[in-house]
Structure formats: structure tokens, C-alpha cells
Amino acid sequence: MTPALAIIVAVVLVAAFVGFWAGRRVPMNLENWTVGGRRFGLLLMWFLMAGEVYTTFTFLGASGWAYARGAPTYYILIYGTLAYTVSFFLLPELWRRGKRFGLHTQPDFFIQAFGSRALGVFVALVGVASILPYLQLQLAGLGLIVEVSSGGKVGSGVAIPAAFVLTCAFVFTSGLRGSAWVAVIKDVLMIAAVGIVGFGVPAVHYGGLGPMFKALAAKAPQHLVLPGSTSSLGVAWVMSTVLLTGAGFYMWPHMFASAFSARSAEVIRRNAVIMPFYQLPILLVLGVGFTAFLALPGLANGDMAFLSLVQKTYPAWFLGFVGAAGAVTAMVPASVLVLTASTLIAKNIFRAGFKPGASEATVLRISRAMVLVVMAAALVFALVFPNALVNLLLIGYDGVSQLFPAVVLSLVWKRTTKAGALAGVVTGIAVAAGLVFTKHDPVWGLNAGFVALAVNAAVTVAVSLLGKRKNAHA
């Protein structure tokens, strides 16, 4: 076993162990399993949220975008910041409702807000359909990272099942508390890896981040301003994309439900205040991608920029460390996604559709069984049919973002009806899918999902108003 491989194996095992350990002596009921008993303080909340937000995309995708597309990648710095600003106002309200009505999931919120169980089932289906491809993406990233960083010793066909089965095992025993504690390890490792590589790589090759940007500005100035090295991702695209993704960020079912796990509304608000600081290290990831643009031109796959440059710059054991951090970085979001999908299926699809009287203990039992089902499905998609969910992934963010108008309007506008909410969400998803699948994204220079979101909001308001008028005549 090479040192690199030993580091990867050791870190993954320690992370899984901490995941098990986190659930010790916690009596497991639905409340503890899904939302950590609503007892997370500021620190654990911060680690968990950062753990969910910083996925393998942070390592590979952001640097890959900086490498292949250039300036449009700045949208990643912006949208998180907008999302935290939205969360500052939105999440405390969600938390209060969650506490008062004992909500565990996003569909629970819709059922409570609109008094419609059918709407809850629909939202749960949208959630599961968005989570599965996102989960597969995490697993694919994990496989790629381990394969490259182990020097090809461990193929993704081995790495993905090994790491993912461990992940599902600690989800099964410890629930969200397990994810939160593994996130502590993950965040520390990842910040260390990003810090070392982000400062180190430009320093080794160009004598620092500033000189690297100077060299890049001299060689390819267009790469550093919008639309970068693309023809369609200009200023309007960035503006519409950050509004869409900033709104959609907390509409992911797992992010939405994380609001329920805080100890108080105060914890959530303070968490939102400090979260934007966590965006700043992304600059270093982008810097790695830009350095690769100069130092390693002509890579076939931009997503390989980060790992290729680390490989070129550092000894093999350090690549193992980066690989270990990357593997845990995939495990934490994967764990929360599995947990959320399982709960959605058990509570909001199975119980709502087939067993309305099922007790919470029964729902927990089914949720845990669903962990195995979701695990099996995700493994099949990741290893056997890697392209089956590509279309779902393309509209994943566009899709979940369509829940935003209904959620916000239900909180601030009492006349929002369930017909309005349903019509808006359905129209939004249909418009997004229609534009994306006919290759009209971007459309008029705007992100197609944003156009869908605008139509969605208008339809939600219009149908709500029409519904009211009819009631008044009746």
C-alpha cells in the first residue's frame, strides 16, 4: 500500500467511525434521526451547513470552470452570499414553523402551509427526483478523486461502493448527528487542503496569487472578465444565475430541512451572518484553476485541473491527503442527501400515500430501510448507468428553485392558495425543462431557470388571486 492510499483509507475510516460514534447513546426516534433533535448550536450548525454546501464541486467544478470558462465562475462566489442573505430572513421563519408544528421535512412545511397532503406528495417527488442525480454526482466526484489521488491503485468501481456503504451505515445508525460530526472533520481537512494548494500552487509556479493574475491578464485578458472564454455566459447570465441559485439554494430539501435542526432561530440568524466568510476560500480554488489555465493548457477535461496541478506540483503522499479530503467532502453531502431522500420517501410518499395512520416509530423504521434502497439505487446509477440521470441533473437546480415563490409567498402573503402554489411550481418546472431540453439555456442571455422562476411567480400570484375571486362569488 502506498502512503497516498494509506492516508485515504485511514481518513475515510476515521470519518465513518466518528459518524457512528456521534449516534452513541442517543435514543433514536424520528426527531433525533432527521433533525438531530433540534439541538444543534452555532458551531455544529456552521460545520453542518458548510459541510453540505462545500461539495466535490468546490474542488473540481469551480476550478474546472475557472480553467475552461474563466470569469463566469465568479458566479459561485456571489450566489452563496446571496443565499445566506436570503437565509438570514427566511430560515428563522421556517425554524419557528418547524418547532411549532414538529416539521421534519420540506414537504411537511408545504402540507402545513397549504393544508394539502397531495401538494406534500408532489413536493416530495420533486425532491427525490432532484436528489438522486445530485447524489450520483457526488459519488462520481468521489470516484474520480480517489482514483486519481491513489495513483490509479483504487478504481472508482471500488472506491465508490466502499466509501458510500460506510456513509450509509453511519446515516443508518446516527442520522443527521452523524453527518454533522463527520462534517467537522471534513471542513477542517478541506480548508487545510484548499489553503495549502490555493496559496502553494500559484506561489510555486508564478511566485504568488497576484503575479499569477498579472501573468494571466497579460496572456488572456478576456478570460478574466465576463463572458470569459465563453460566448453565452455574459453579465446578464451571471445576474440571472445568481438570483436563481441564490433563491434555490435553501430549496434543496436537505438544505431546507437543516433549518429545523438548529437549537433556536437565533442560532440560524447568527449562522447566516458568518456564512459568507466561508465563500472567501473559494477564491483560492479559482486561483488553482486559473494557474492551471496558464501552466497546464489543453486538458481534455477541465474538472481535472485541480488534481492534475496538485499532481504536478506536490509529492504523491500529499496528493493522497487531498484525495482523502476530497473523499470526505463527498461523503458528508452524500450522507445528508441519503438521509433526506429516505425520509421523504418514508414519511411524505409512503405514509402520506399508503399508510396515513403510521406512527413515527414506523416511519423511522421505514426511513432506515429506505437508506438501503436509496443506497442501492444510487450505486446502480453511479456504476452501471452513469448517464441515466443526466437530464435530471441538468434541471436539478432549476427544478428545486421553483419551490421558492410558493415558500416565500406562503410566509408573507396570506392570500397564496394551494392551487396557486401548485400551478406555479408545475409551470416553472415545465418551462425550465422545456427550455433546457430544447437547448435554449441560456435564453436571451438569461439563465433558463430564472426565466422559469419569473413565470412561476407570476402564475402563483395570478392563480391565487383568481381562486380567491371565485370563492368570493360562491
Binding site: 497576484g210 493574475f213 445576474m239 458568518i274
Partner: protein, 73 residues
């Protein structure tokens, strides 16, 4: 709407004004600041200042919140 809430929302609009609406006017390479292209520098500054805006929003919102009203322990 309470005055504190209104001021908090105004502060919450700061990142939207600086990081969305202002983009057409800051999409430029020069002047570079600390070696960073101007567009990137502008974005980083306002990402770093957003916690300050939200911190102030929290203070203002808290000041005139009715005691015990709407805030569970």
C-alpha cells in the same frame, strides 16, 4: 412593518445591489487591485462586507422587536 425590520431588509438589499445590479458597471479588468482583476476584487470586497451588513441588520431588527414577541428561547 416595524422600523427595525424595514432597516434590516434595506441592509439585506446591499449584496443584491452590489453583487447583482452593479455587475454591468464593474465588468472590467483594470484597475487591478493587489494584482486582482477589478471585477474579481469588487466581488470579493462585497462578499466580505456582507457579514457586516447582516450583523447590523440583526442589531437593528433586534432593537425594536417586541419583548418575547415572535422569538422562542
Amino acid at each position: 412593518m416595524r422600523a427595525g425590520r424595514r432597516r434590516a431588509l434595506l441592509l439585506g438589499a446591499v449584496p443584491f445591489a452590489t453583487l447583482v445590479l452593479a455587475l454591468p458597471f464593474v465588468n472590467r479588468l483594470r484597475p487591478t487591485v493587489f494584482g486582482l482583476p477589478f471585477l474579481l476584487f469588487w466581488i470579493l470586497v462585497w462578499v466580505a462586507l456582507t457579514p457586516l451588513a447582516l450583523y447590523l441588520a440583526d442589531r437593528l431588527d433586534r432593537r425594536d422587536r417586541p419583548p418575547g414577541g415572535g422569538e422562542e428561547p
